[in-house]
């Protein structure tokens, strides 16, 4: 029984979602289930937040490595929660101010840092050992060059070639990956719905 009920829920929920696509009469049931799905899945965010607080409180209590920064995380979390809950989230409110003036610049900076790391990793890993590796290198280089003004300054046709690479060979490759991934997803979904794949229940058989 420990596994039967969860497996039955998975089967029923999965079948309703598939059926609502083909049987119009089950569409409203599918829509309601999607709303239920969002509500239940949203609890995972709370679970993550509780876990984050738990980890940092634990770090402070046992004075683990870098524990001095844990109060910063807890304070950041608390300030966002308090301002969001009690002062509103509309534009102009403290919550929105902290989002636009602190979180957005920090997020952009974090992602822009990746430019350095990716460039550094590429410099170390990219080696034109064979003609296919060279092709990858050339393709990446032309696409990058085609997106900056210096590319057109070197040769006026570079932006066009870059666009062609994106629109033709890249499209073909991405399509093959997408179709392959979709097939994999369909197979995995069916395995889950029919209870063959159960690892999400904790690996129990």
């Amino acid at each position: 029984m420990r596994l039967v009920i969860p497996l039955m829920i998975t089967f029923v929920a999965g079948m309703i979602m598939i059926l609502q696509f083909f049987v119009p009469a089950t569409q409203s049931m599918g829509e309601s289930l999607q709303e239920w799905y969002m509500i239940v899945a949203s609890a995972a965010i709370f679970l993550g937040a509780i876990n984050l607080l738990n980890v940092h409180i634990h770090k402070i209590r046992f004075k683990a490595k870098n524990w001095k920064y844990s109060p910063v995380t807890i304070a950041g979390f608390a300030v966002m929660i308090i301002t969001g809950l009690f002062l509103g989230i509309e534009p102009g409110r403290p919550f929105d101010f902290m989002f636009t003036q602190m979180m957005v610049p920090m997020g952009a900076t974090m992602f822009s840092l990746l430019a350095f790391f990716v460039a550094s990793a590429a410099f170390r890993a990219f080696r034109a050992n064979n003609w296919r590796a060279t092709l990858l290198l050339v393709s990446a280089f032309v696409v990058m060059l085609g997106r900056v003004p210096i590319g057109a300054m070197i040769w006026s046709k570079i932006p066009g070639i870059s666009e062609w690479i994106m629109q033709v060979p890249n499209l073909a490759g991405q399509r093959a990956v997408m179709i392959g991934a979709a097939m994999g997803m369909v197979a995995t979904s069916l395995r889950m719905i029919f209870g063959i794949e159960r690892s999400y229940l904790g690996g129990a058989d």
């Binding site: 998975t10 709370f46 608390a78 033709v168 490759g173 990956v177 979709a182």
Partner: protein, 214 residues
């Protein structure tokens, strides 16, 4: 001192703290990193309450026009079960919630992926080779059709990659290498554009607050 001024300084100092990691790991970076993690978690919790739970759950449970809809207690209870994962004795109840998420997600993604990522892409690949008219269009269309078919052959592992299958798989690898190179270049440029944006913010918004105009 206006709030805009405070906002620019906060954004600039936090950005510089994060960029300081390029030199080496340091307390300024760690401070900004921890603050970002905490604020992001808080932001998503509030976003979730205001944009998911209130409109989808609370407004259905207690509609504005009055009345009480007990059926909506079920997803609420399942959401609560999910949180019970942190209580070891009751954590098995979270399996019910997880099952609903997995079942609905699997059913939803099965049809959606099949429709958008498989059938629509196959449909997009079935093109007249002469479409476009000129020689470049011919070549491009042949590359698209051959690339997709050979790329799929490369991903088909149920048959040994020898003979014709091996030849097709080889063409597939070549197309995939070009595609991965292009995707890599595109991703790097997206990051570079963020870097340019942040640099412009520091140079043209933050420096002028100190009277430095470039």
């Amino acid at each position: 001192m206006s709030w805009t001024f405070v906002g620019i300084w906060l954004g600039a100092l936090l950005s510089l703290s994060l960029y300081s990691f390029l030199y080496k790991d340091n307390p300024f970076y760690k401070f900004a990193e921890h603050l970002f993690v905490g604020m992001s978690a808080g932001y998503w919790v509030i976003y979730n309450i205001k944009n998911v739970l209130i409109p989808n759950w609370w407004n259905n449970l207690v509609p504005a026009e009055g009345g009480f809809q007990p059926i909506w207690l079920i997803p609420g209870t399942l959401a609560l079960f999910m949180l019970l994962r942190i209580v070891p004795k009751l954590s098995s109840l979270s399996r019910m919630s997880l099952s609903l998420i997995v079942g609905t997600g699997a059913g939803l993604s099965l049809t959606a992926m099949l429709q958008t990522n498989a059938l629509a892409q196959v449909n997009g690949t079935i093109i007249a080779l002469g479409q476009g008219g000129d020689l470049l269009s011919w070549i491009s269309n042949i590359i698209i059709v051959t690339g997709v078919v050979c790329g799929l052959v490369y991903f088909f592992f149920s048959k040994a990659h020898t003979g014709v299958v091996g030849g097709a798989a080889n063409i597939g690898i070549t197309i995939l290498m070009v595609a991965f190179g292009a995707s890599f270049g595109y991703t790097v440029m997206a990051r570079i554009s963020l870097l340019i944006g942040q640099t412009q913010f520091l140079l043209f918004e933050w420096l002028p607050t100190m009277g430095i105009h470039l």
